[in-house]
Structures are given as C-alpha cells and as structure tokens.
C-alpha cells in the first residue's frame, strides 16, 4: 500500500508537527475519513481494531463502526455520539499529526472552538450529495474566527455522485463565494471518497479530471512555518528560576515560552509593566546557551540588570510594544450553562497574567450558521458567540488575536466554582 515507514532517528527528527481539526457527525463520513487516515498510516493496531470489531458486533452494527475508535467515553459509545474533543495521533514519514476530533452539531460549538484553538489546519467535510449546508458555514466560520491558517475543504462521498466534476465544481464555487466573508489565508479543495479511498492517500482513478494533490499530500505539504508570529517579540514571564546554590549563587533566570518574534543574545529589551530597558545576557536552555530563540521554544532568559520581574510581566522590544490597556473587546464563545451577563465579574487569564474583569457590554451576537449579527445584549448562553467589552482591574499586555494567537487570547473563570466559563479572542 504505501512506502516503508522510515523510523531511523535521523528521519524522525526532521519531521514537523501539524495539528488539524475535524468537525462533524457520523453521517458526514468524518469517522470513516479519520479511520482511513489512521489505518493507511498503520496507526490503528490489531488489538484496537479487534476491540472496535467486538464493540460493533455488540451494538448490532453490520460494518465495523470506526467512530468507536475515537469515542473513548462510555457515554459516547452508548449514545453513539461524540461529546467531547478526542485527540488522535499518526505519523507519515514526512510529518507527525495531531487530530482534534470534535462533534459537529450546533450544541457542540464550544467543543469545536476548543479543537480549533491550537490547530494549523481544519478539514471541512461536505457531503457531495447535499452540497454546502448550514454546518459547512458553521465549521468554516469557527475556523476563521479561531484563525486557523489553512482550510482544507473535502468534498466527500464523490462515489455517490458518480465522481462528476460538475458536482465538485459547483460546490467549490458556492463555497468560494461564501469564503470571501471569512479571514482565512489559504483554502484548498479536494474531491474524495473516504469510504472508497479516492484521493485520500492515493490518487483516484475515478477522477482523472482532478489534478491536485491527495488529502494526505496536502496535509504533508502545507507550509506551517509561517503560522506563528515571528515579527513581534513577546516573552510572557512564566516562572523565575533561582537556584540559590553555591555553584549558581547569583543565577536569576526568567523562564517562559516565546509567544512571538525572535529574541537574540545581546538584544535591548523592555520589561512590562515597569518599562525598564536592559539587555539579554544569555538565552539558556538547560545547560546550553543559545544565540536566538523563537516560538514555540521554552527557554530561560537572563538579563544584564537586576530588575524586579515576576510572573505575568512581559519582555518585549523597545520599538515594538504590545497594547497595554484595561478596556478590551473580544469575540467571546461561551462554554458554560450559566450565561454571561453585563456587570458580571470573572477571573481573567491571558498569557501568564491573572487579573479580574467586569463585563461592560454585549455588543452583538453572531449567528454561527449565517454569520448575521444579532442585536441582543441581555446575555450570552452556552455555545453562543458575541462581541463583548470587558474592563480589567490591571492593564493587560496584548496584541489582537489576528496578530498573535498567544497574546491575543483570554479565558474567563467563575469566581465561585473556578470553572472555565468562556473564551475570548481580542479584537
């Protein structure tokens, strides 16, 4: 079937990571597609397949129900639905993949948002028989809202429309017209049959009119290097390393993960909120000293001057500072059945910062199926998305989510239960 897997360590170390998300229900052929990607990359093992077979028979399914591979919870298997996000892993000789597999119905918008938050790519599944539907709009809008850089639109079940090019072209046209309303850098289309395997891993003999790559080829080759922000240097201080030992008596390092830009040894940097300017003396990673560091590396910075710096502070460049404000507008997705209302107070987390905030106003809601604005400022219920204005107790250091997914995202936490209630993308 496919090339021999090369697991020599040299090849393995040259692999990149690609995280992608899928949304949908059993009817869309989502599980069949994931099952095929896993199966064809030999990532389904005999004991897993056996256990799925046993479970399928027990449930009275005639065919092997591949959804049972990802529906890991008892309740999901009993009800035959995906409730939560499941993560699946597979590797080809070129890349390692993490799939965030999410349910697709509107009452699981929050799960789709969760799966999309870390994804480099989203697979949008369209049933060739039904064409573009409300669900297509919803999945695409969420992908765009969460700023997934690459959309791969799979027109599935081509076998059921006799592999007709016109069907594919019509869907492509309808989708493209709609997509002009979205903010997505890169959209690809591929006609497939997940069930029969057309254009998933191997080129389809039934669709010689399609000249593009197979789904797997696309997944292996989309350029992910530019997905992270390499322009605006941002280093949220996460933890202060102070050994207090004889050997490292004066060592004081600021540990964190680079959230944007490139930091080099000797760079002049500014510390927020104090505004002090100093120089990077060393970029440490374990017992090495690095010349430069960039996202998503976790490193420890040492600075020339002894300053008062703690968790929640941010190290940036003098000539490129983030916004420092207490009033922010976010696109908020609500995740809890206790709705958000104006004047309510929450804990707010952003990068390594913890503050409190108050809801000033719900400006408008978005209908995730049509992208229409709804004027309704009363409350924001679970699975709804709205533009919300917040006032924080202390200034945040942030960029717009569009500029930087790390410094532009927040979560709200209930003060009584400590549950994560809502998530926001700073406008």
């Amino acid at each position: 079937m496919d090339e021999n897997k090369d697991f020599s360590s040299k090849a393995y170390l040259d692999m990149e990571l690609l995280r992608f998300t899928t949304a949908g229900s059993v009817d869309d052929g989502k599980s069949t597609l994931i099952g095929r990607l896993l199966y064809d990359s030999k990532s389904i093992f005999e004991d897993q397949l056996e256990s799925v077979k046993r479970a399928s028979v027990k449930k009275g399914n005639e065919q092997i129900n591949l959804a049972l591979l990802t529906d890991g919870l008892r309740a999901e298997r009993e009800q035959g639905i995906t409730i939560d996000v499941a993560y699946r892993y597979f590797a080809t000789p070129k890349r390692k993949f993490i799939i965030a597999d999410t349910p697709g119905h509107v009452q699981y918008t929050r799960n789709m948002v969760t799966g999309a938050s870390t994804a480099n790519a989203a697979i949008i599944l369209i049933d060739a028989r039904n064409g573009v539907t409300e669900q297509t709009y919803r999945h695409s809008y969420i992908s765009s809202l969460l700023q997934i850089p690459h959309l791969i639109v799979c027109v599935n079940k081509m076998d059921l429309v006799d592999y007709k090019e016109e069907v594919y072209e019509e869907i492509k046209e309808t989708f493209s017209a709609f997509a002009s309303k979205l903010v997505v850098k890169d959209i690809r289309f591929v006609p497939i049959s997940a069930l029969k395997g057309d254009n998933v891993v191997e080129h389809s003999k039934n669709m010689s009119w399609y000249q593009g790559g197979t789904l797997r080829h696309i997944l292996e080759n989309i350029h992910v290097g530019s997905d992270l922000n390499h322009i605006d240097p941002r280093f949220p201080v996460q933890y202060v390393v102070r050994p207090i030992s004889d050997k490292f008596h004066d060592y004081r390092g600021y540990a964190g993960r680079i959230a944007g830009g490139v930091f080099r040894k000797g760079d002049r940097v500014m510390v927020l909120p104090s505004g002090f300017v100093t120089t990077i003396e060393s970029i440490d990673f374990y017992n090495e000293s690095l010349e430069e560091a960039y996202p998503p590396m976790s490193v420890t910075l040492r600075l020339k001057d002894d300053l008062d710096i703690s968790r929640g502070d941010m190290i940036v460049k003098e000539n490129n500072v983030p916004r420092v404000e207490q009033d922010i507008d976010v696109m908020m997705c609500w995740m809890n059945d206790k709705p958000l209302q104006p004047r309510m107070k929450y804990h707010l987390k952003q990068t390594t910062n913890d503050v409190k905030c108050m809801v000033k106003e719900i400006k408008y809601k978005v209908d995730v199926n049509t992208l229409d604005r709804i004027e309704d400022g009363n409350d924001l219920k679970m699975n709804e998305i709205a533009r919300v204005s917040l006032r924080t107790t202390k200034p945040l250091f942030f960029d717009s989510y569009r500029q930087n997914r790390q410094t532009g995202s927040i979560i709200l936490i209930d003060e009584a239960t400590n549950n994560t209630m809502g998530v926001g993308m700073i406008v």
Partner: protein
C-alpha cells in the same frame, strides 16, 4: 528543517516544559508521580530541563505495590540520589495491613486497582495539590479525552463528562480546598516519540526494557514474569525465555515481549513494526472495554 521551525520532538519537549513550569507557578504543593517506567523517567528528564540549574521544585511520589521488579526500585533510588530530589513512597502493603483495602484473590489477582486508594491517601497526607503524571493520550481511548490540567473533586474523582474547556496554552489550575489536579505534560506524545526522545537525549532507562533471560509463564495470550506471589495453574509451566518489558508496571499485570532487542535502535525498529498497542500487554486494561475510564473516575493515575 527550515529556519525558525523546530522539529516535532522539540515542539513536544517545549510544550511539556511549559506545562511543568505552569504547575510550579500555579500550585503550592505539586509532586511528580514516578513509577519507574519510561514515561515517568522522561518526565523527570523534562523537569530537570525546565528548572535547571535549580533542583526539581517538587518531590517524586512512588506508589509501591510491593510487587515491583527489583530493578525498578534500584533504578528509582539511584535517580533520586543523582537528582538530589525528595522521594515520597506510598505503600499498598500498608493500605492492606491497615485494612483500608482488601487484597484481590484468585489467579488474576493484582494490586493495580488497590493503588488508587494508596495514591489518594498519599495525596491527602502530603497535601499535594497537583500530581504530575506521565499518562499519554495515545495509550488508551479514555486517556484520549483527558485534559492537560485534569480537575479532581474532593474525593479524587474525575468527571469525564464535565471537564473544563482547555484552549490555546492557557491552563486553569484554580480549585477549591480539598480538590486537586492531575497534570499530564506528555499528553501529546506517542510511544514512538518517547523512545525517539530517550534515544536523542541519551536518557538512562532500567535494564528491564532490554532483552534479558527471565522465568516466565504463558496466560491469556501473554507472557508474565514468574514471582513467588503469582498464583499459577497446574497447566501453566514456568520456562526461561529472552524477554523485555514494553511497559513497566506491577509484575502481576505487565506482559513481557519475547525479543532480542538489546539497544535503543533495535527497540525503535521493534516498536515501528509491532501491530499491537503497548497497553495490549497490560492485563489491567483487558478487564473490560471501559476498564481505564472506570479506574480513572475513581482516582487512578
């Protein structure tokens, strides 16, 4: 690899280090659950890198079933010495002696389930508010649903249907008194990633992972190690074979692989060729389709 890209193992490493630092920053009294297996050894290695040149900011906790391979204990003690770390041992034998749990009986008796009680007692006794574990989502389908920061109520229970949403790399470790967290920095690693990383970083692992001669017997499709406390049927003959461990757990539930692999390259090739998951050799998971989910709800690792 293009400029300003890092390869997937370094990205996973960076993610895990970030999680460990979050734990050290967000919690008062974290601890690292150490079993002596490869995943927890990788965890210790990552923790060393995360906080260097300081010592680990948390103790290691070992839940000792009393049915361990001897090599595991020797390895653990050497590592603790080398790191100058603090070790807390929770003893299942003590939980049995004090009447908190009853030993399972019969041929498939195992202390695996009993560990949960000892673990929860140890967490309570030492007021641990975050227990770092080496669980991976690729291991088992219930684990595939687990969060990095997994909330436990005051009974140590996991509520899989009501987990906190977890987005980007913002982790909510807020909790009420008496509650705690289990944190899984290796969530996104696969078995292959672990082995490649051990190879890349030249991490020391117990000799049990390499082929060695051992007295074994065959039961329910797997080779188990012979030990005085293992009840054997008359039909189960003890023979000597060259085997190695693919995972290391309690002797009573660790299936052994017949293998000649005596170095990491060979182990990696063996894992690449295998058609069975690593937990396929774990008797504790084969008890039912939801064995892992059920144990996890009760507070298992």
């Amino acid at each position: 690899m293009k400029k300003y890209n890092i390869n997937h193992l370094r990205e996973l490493e960076s993610e895990s280090i970030f999680i460990m630092r979050e734990v050290a920053a967000q919690f008062e009294n974290p601890a690292l659950l150490f079993s002596g297996g490869k995943d927890s050894i990788v965890m210790v290695h990552l923790a060393k890198k995360a906080f260097y040149p300081a010592l680990l900011p948390f103790p290691l906790v070992h839940i000792d079933t009393g049915h361990n391979f001897e090599e595991t204990i020797t390895f653990r003690d050497d590592l603790v010495n080398e790191l100058n770390a603090q070790l807390i041992v929770g003893s299942v034998q003590e939980s049995i002696d004090s009447g908190k749990v009853a030993e399972e009986k019969g041929y498939n008796a195992s202390r695996n389930l009993l560990q949960t009680v000892t673990l929860l007692d140890t967490i309570e006794k030492h007021k641990i508010d975050a227990a770092l574990g080496g669980g991976r989502r690729d291991e088992e389908k219930a684990r595939a649903k687990e969060r990095f920061f997994s909330h436990r109520d005051e009974f140590g229970q996991w509520d899989p249907k009501n987990q906190r949403p977890e987005l980007w790399n913002i982790f909510n470790g807020r909790k009420l008194m008496g509650e705690h967290f289990r944190v899984f920095p290796l969530s996104n690693w696969t078995e292959m990633d672990i082995w490649q990383y051990i190879y890349l970083e030249d991490i020391k692992i117990p000799s049990l992972y390499f082929t060695h001669e051992r007295e074994v017997f065959y039961r329910d499709g797997m080779w188990l190690a012979n030990a005085s406390f293992m009840m054997k049927r008359d039909t189960e003959e003890v023979i000597t074979k060259r085997v190695r461990c693919r995972t290391i757990g309690d002797i009573s539930c660790t299936g052994l692989t017949v293998s000649t692999a005596d170095n990491l390259e060979d182990i990696i090739q063996e894992i690449a060729a295998t058609r069975v998951t690593e937990r396929g050799g774990r008797a504790d998971d084969m008890r039912s389709d939801s064995a892992m989910e059920d144990r996890k709800k009760e507070g298992y690792f």
